[in-house]
Amino acid sequence: MADVREDILARLLVVVAAIPGMRSVHRNNVDISEDQLPAVCVFDADEESDDLQNRPSNSRGMVRMTPEIVIAEKTAGQVGSELTALRRELIRRVLLDTDLNNLVAGSSPRGDGAIRYLGCQTDVGWMRSLHGALRAQFTFKYWLKPDEL
């Protein structure tokens, strides 16, 4: 059994947990309290396939998985600059992680799996202090092999 999707998501959690200064790390936790901040959370991904050819149902094909990563923090400083610094760490660590790149490349018979940064959005708001959150999306392009699931 080789479920590349789960392998990627599990590794992604390890990678984001290593971002300096994080107090808590979550997967699919929608409810974060302020004493857990700064927090990073990986949300399991939407997937889509671009294989529209008439092939047997057990054929291998490329899929694109797009997990969302949320980083939330509170600060007495400049929330925008701090979110930008966290974004830089996040992008660098995800795109350059050897294990993640090996997972997507190794899933493909031609080694053409890929990781791409799609973009991010931010939210800020006053609570007990100024809070900020950054949501970033990445696409993981890998081969789905039904016969190996």
Partner: protein
């Protein structure tokens, strides 16, 4: 005309108001405030971050009687119920007797990074 200060605000503040210390520069006075700290949620994509939005109601006539004008509100320190806050903004709550006889809700932030 009903006197809302005498019939509404005074009894309410006497019942649920708490003493607070207001400091701005050399102004330091004791006021009666109503703690209005509320639950607050920040949407963060698929997640929500839960905290509180601290606030306090104060009667504007009481501020005026203590020599505190609107220019003194911003960035003032307000201590009540064992916590120290800083006024980061405010919203006026008019009364049927007019804005100057109504309340202000101070929007607060933690005085220290907490």
């Amino acid at each position: 005309m009903i006197d809302y200060s005498a019939l509404l605000y005074d009894p309410v503040y006497a019942e649920i108001g708490v003493p607070a210390t207001f400091i701005n520069g050399e102004n330091e006075v004791t006021l009666t405030v109503i703690d209005d700290t509320r639950p607050k949620v920040l949407p963060a994509g698929s997640a929500e971050v839960r905290s509180v939005g601290p606030g306090a109601f104060v009667r504007i006539p009481e501020l005026e009687q203590n020599g505190i004008s609107r220019d003194d509100w911003q960035d003032a320190s307000l201590t009540f119920n064992g916590r120290d806050w800083t006024v980061r903004s405010y919203e006026l709550r008019g009364s049927p007797n007019g804005e100057e006889l109504g309340e202000v809700r101070f929007l607060l932030k933690a005085a220290s990074d907490g």
